[in-house]
Symmetry: C2
Subunit: 324 residues, 2 copies
């Protein structure tokens, strides 16, 4: 099953404690498409300038990524420059040049409209809604966003979150949107908008899936992150988390709560590979077999009980039943 | 099997976003003993002043806690005043009065020396070593510490960590001791001292167990924390984490890696009860059945795979085999 992704394609300049890189391939759409192409056929919607290096297009094509929705227009490609401190936490933005991204409006090729899985990467929520309006009843839609849209376009972001099945945000964003310091309470404010599920990304601390359910154990799934001794560049971790998540769902078609949980683990693991090198470089030679090998190691790493998990069968219910 | 604990017994003054409390029962030894008494018989080693309220002694006795090692001396009981901000992170210390704790030296009653499980709560590492020197070959020893001793008594703390089986520290302390920003690398510096296992407490993000092993999945166990919608007072979370951990081990006698993993989960859950009220109040009516109920919910909450966990049998090896 194929996945449509809309978002930024960028040229990045990155500084981390592990080194610096200039004019490397970046952007949420790029990271997502590269990682998700391990699992499914990906269709990109985005824009680049005439300066976009042709070798990047050839790389994306080599991953069987459909580029018919990628507009190439006069001008320069969106560019982002950022720096990470020694704790590899949030990046400090040094420069943002929207360039051709400033006037971007997604226009979907006719063949894209029936794509069953849709991921709206972090862009203006009004553009996210424009994409949704062009889709024919997709099987699963999801969006990412960021603090900037929560303050500048809160109303549009709220409408976008009301229209998708899954919202993916990081911990600070959930707390900011809900204006509530307790993360667990804050997650409810997002779910109350209507999505079937909320995925909270927590960086080195893993991730949380929140759905509806009778007990805490049914409503929440919490997973740690894979422990890494060397992180090179955290850029794209969130986008490739989303790619592992959506990719697993598109490949298996399993939209039960249990399926979403395994998808969250895939997201965590794909992100753990991404941050081990600059740009999408760690993904270039990564195979699904590598992810599955780490998945098995992760199963051992998170395992603590031999007994049957009580209530396991309750996880098999389709998340569609959770819809408000 | 009984557990010996040495540490502070205190009178606390606490401010949190949920309210303020004056002259409440506190201290690492108190928190640990109260929580561990759910699992096993506890023997306390500590000191209080003549001002220590007799109702607190009666409460501890009501938990079948052995107080023969608790010295009552002239003067005032150790007192700590602290304040937590809206994110309920690290406390700001407003006042510390060592009082009778300043001249404390642990003198173990003869009957205590054969206690099989020993927990050295956060006190001067030289006193921790004094306690160890008075013990007859305990089955398992563990210590907690804090940033203060890492800067002021690093050499003594290093010797103490070399002598115990299990070291429990929080994430920032591991990073500080190792002078290494990557937590995973930093854990190795502690294990290299000789303990069989390191438990890293990560507060709202759960905990990590590090042992020796062939693969990442065997060496590391990571668990999230139980999600709480309302946290009243984080004081004592780390001490009661240690109590659930040591209590489970003392009750089951299972010192395999798998046993330690389950002990970490018990620690996480006992701490999750503690922070739901001030002082040890949430523990007063808590039963082991309540912990087990939450354990079952937690199993559901952390569960994501139906398949057998590959390599599970490798977790059954005794941690004694991991000794350097």
């Amino acid at each position: 099953m194929s996945i449509l992704v809309v978002g930024s394609v960028a040229i990045d300049n990155i500084e981390t404690p592990a080194g610096s890189r200039s004019r490397i391939l970046g952007g949420a759409c790029t990271y997502f498409a590269t990682a998700a192409s391990l699992y499914a056929q990906v269709r990109m919607v985005g824009v680049v300038g005439a300066d976009f290096p042709p070798e990047h297009l050839r790389f994306l094509q080599s991953r069987n990524i459909d580029l018919r929705g990628l507009q190439v227009v006069e001008g320069e490609t969106f560019s982002w420059s950022g720096r990470y401190g020694h704790d590899l936490g949030d990046a400090e933005t040094l420069d943002t040049r929207l360039n051709v991204f400033a006037d971007f409006h997604p226009a979907l090729p006719e063949e894209y409209r029936s794509t069953p899985y849709v991921f709206l990467a972090n862009i203006d929520p009004e553009l996210q809604i424009e994409v949704l309006s062009q889709m024919d009843s997709p099987r699963l839609t999801a969006l990412d966003s960021m603090n900037f849209w929560m303050s500048s376009k809160r109303e549009a972001l709220t409408r976008a979150m009301q229209q998708v099945d899954v919202v993916l945000l990081n911990e600070a964003e959930v707390i900011q949107y809900a204006s509530e310091p307790n993360l667990i309470v804050a997650t409810q404010a997002i779910l109350d908008l209507g999505p079937r599920a909320l995925v909270v990304k927590r960086g080195r601390y893993g991730a949380m899936l929140v759905t509806r359910g009778a007990s805490i154990g049914e409503r929440f799934f919490l997973t740690p992150a894979y422990p890494l001794e060397h992180v090179v560049d955290p850029t794209g971790a969130g986008d490739t988390f989303a790619a592992g998540f959506m990719g697993y769902l598109a490949q298996t078609g399993d939209l039960s709560v249990a399926g979403l949980r395994r998808a969250v683990v895939h997201g965590t693991l794909v992100a753990s590979f991404t941050v081990q090198d600059f740009s999408i470089d760690a993904l270039r030679n990564l195979t699904l077999a590598d992810v599955v090998t780490r998945y098995d190691d992760f199963a051992l790493l998170t395992h603590y009980d031999d007994g049957a998990c009580p209530g396991r069968e309750r996880l098999q219910r389709p998340i569609a039943e959770n819809r408000l």
